[in-house]
Amino acid sequence: MSDLELSVAAQETGREKLLPARWLWSAILPIAMVVLVLGFASFDRGVLSSANLLNVAQQTSYLALFAMAQTVVILTRGLDLALGPTVSMVSVGTALAMAGAAATGHDPSAVLLAGLAVGFSLGVACGLFNGVVIAMFKVNPFVATLGSYNVAIGVATTLSSGRPVQGVPTLFSQIFYGGSVFGIPAAIAVTVAVGIVLHLVLARTVFGRSLYIIGTNPRAAAVAGLPVKRILITTYVLCSALAALGAIMMTARTGSGEPNLGGALSLQAIAGAVIGGTSLAGGRGGVGTAVLGALFITILSNGMNLTRVDGYVQMVVLGAIVIIGVLLDRLRLERRL
């Protein structure tokens, strides 16, 4: 009997009794966040200033985008270690394309278009590679994306010679970083829009439904005639395309193509998804868990920055938080027994 089965069964037998407890468990992360914010605020009033809150929201929106990308593949029992390097590669590619187009005297909109086209193509190519290797050749997602991790790093550093790529038009930054929709900064607006669309895709489309079924029981999905391979490939392409979108937003913020932009993003995004409650065993999670996890991590590091906690100590705290997050998830599952 799998844990899953037992937990499901228990839900039935003790629904009434466990309902408040389960509600409490799912509220643990938001409560922890409020406590954190208040705790940090007692050290430094600045934490609650509107400028800082906006800053936190903006920071969160990038990480949330990547955590959503990661969640999509984690739902299918997968993983994308190459997400960070993909971000670097897209950043460099976009910047180079725009610098090149600008140098050859194209008009600004064509320059932007060239940048976006190259950026998204690189992202989609990376996702296609991951998806094909995982779905068609049955390579373990960890190993497959570890492979493309290396490839993407190689491409990013080679294209840029390891240096930031200059020549990104200011218009690009003005739109994707400085721009705003109804007064909401671009990054936040884009993430909210993506979040809503992705939520609808997961909840209301055949593709979304298939993701959950494949993650819950891949054999059953195949026997029921779901096009498992095609869906898996699409999933990895979607993940990398979202990563590319995030990369473009971040490139607009820095104003240059950065070969190290991705850095630790792969793992941060996984951490965000997992802390939020996405299950690495597949089939459980969504936009909500990704955003929640990203928000939590951002609040924690923002608070630690403002209260001048040593950067190295922050690494230790983050590491501990990741483990505690998964442990809580584990307990949450057992509570349902």
Binding site: E5, A9, I213, A221
Partner: protein
Amino acid sequence: MHLPPLNRPPEKPMDTDIDPQLVPPLLRLRGISKRFSGVRALDRVDLDVRAGELHVLFGENGAGKSTLINLVSGTFPPDEGTFHFAGDAIHNFTPQRARAIGISPVFQEFSLVPSLTVEENLFLGREVARSGVLRSGQMRKRARALIDELGFDLDPSRRVDDLSRAHQQMAEIAKALLGKIRLLILDEPTASLTERETGRLFELIARLKSQNVGLIYVSHRMREIRALADRVTVLRDGRHIRTLDAATSTDGELVELMTGRKIDLLFPTIAHEPDKLMVDIENLTLTDGSVCDVSLHARAGEITGIAGLVGCGKSELIRAIYGIEPTASGTIRIDGAPYESPAPRRSLKRGIAYFPANRIAEGLALSRSIRENASMTVLDLPAFARFGILRQAVERTRIAGIMAQLQLRPPNIERPAGALSGGNRQKVMLGRALTRELTVFLFDEPSVGIDVGAKLEVYEFMKRLVEAGAAVIVVSSELPEVLALSNRLYVMHHGRIAAELTGAEKTEQNVLSSFFRDHLTAEVA
């Protein structure tokens, strides 16, 4: 060859004149209960097994036999009840403890590590070692001696994943017999053995009995029960029904106790009206060799049965038609048109549905709702999704209607499928059959793991399908089931069709003898 387990003098030499009733039994279970997923697998079951006795557990699939032997082997603890072995009360029972006190199980689902060799598997968990360093030479010698003594044709240095199912079964039996044993548990041990190997096993069983080893033996086969059993305990729906002396009980009595009703009452009478040729298979061979050069056909309006022992290729055959086992050669025609390189999605489009034997592994996404599980096979239809967007309102009403028709209890379709009993899970699977236009239905062991009432409903469901003009193929290891349901019955043996029986030829006797005939021809060839 001298071997500790077989030639060891009995622990307690017993005077055969003593009335066995007065000797405390080797194993004594009282009031054992066990629940899984809200389903009661065992309900206050009692069981006594005496030293030197072969005790058969008899019951339908899902009656609780495998839960019971798993409890006795220490796989999981009972929820309630007492457990005595050789007079001692046993608590906190684990597989290790079981081994240590001499309880040794042979399961159908093998406890072998595929990437290790036979010899490494035999000694797994009780290696001969000095301060953590393995003594391979000594183990090799003992493994060879044991296999020689058992008379199995088994190479101890082969990796288990390179072995055939029969050889894996031999390795499993050899593993159980290594070391000190006082109680041996055998779960359908002959399912994939040949007659000759079965003979060796029976000799071995006799020898173990003479050495005062107690045996629990799970089998459906009357012949084996007649040949081996001292006593038979009948289980039904997780309850202990009765324990009888094998010598004084009749086959009919046992079957009646097992099913809880007269056997002919269990199956509905189906009006077969063979019509159009729907499935026509010629010389089909599978890539893994499990099916070899098989030709068979099934018509609309009749149930075509396929009987055979576990591992004979009958499941693989219908799985190949549906497209989840790769074929090497041969042709499949559906409704007259050739069907090349089958795949589940295309099979459904052609009107073929498959109902897997293992509903947990291949059928259901347990943590998802009943609704999502039932509509899994129709997400490609415009009625359920347009331009990739689900029509959830339609889905809800359609599935709710179908589940009401199938009398799902309780009728809430938003509950996770994992919360359902075996019978209700099968209903969710059957519900898929009603969601789209289908003409060919492939049932793989349709009554495994469901209770008698639900079985009847499944049979009624098939009856309705056939009488509405569908072609139904039923694969089953339960002989009475395929005999009663099918209009025509194929018997498979070692990947080939051994016989095709219709009308009055369709008897248990003929099915069994067609296995036998196959052996004769094989030996002649």
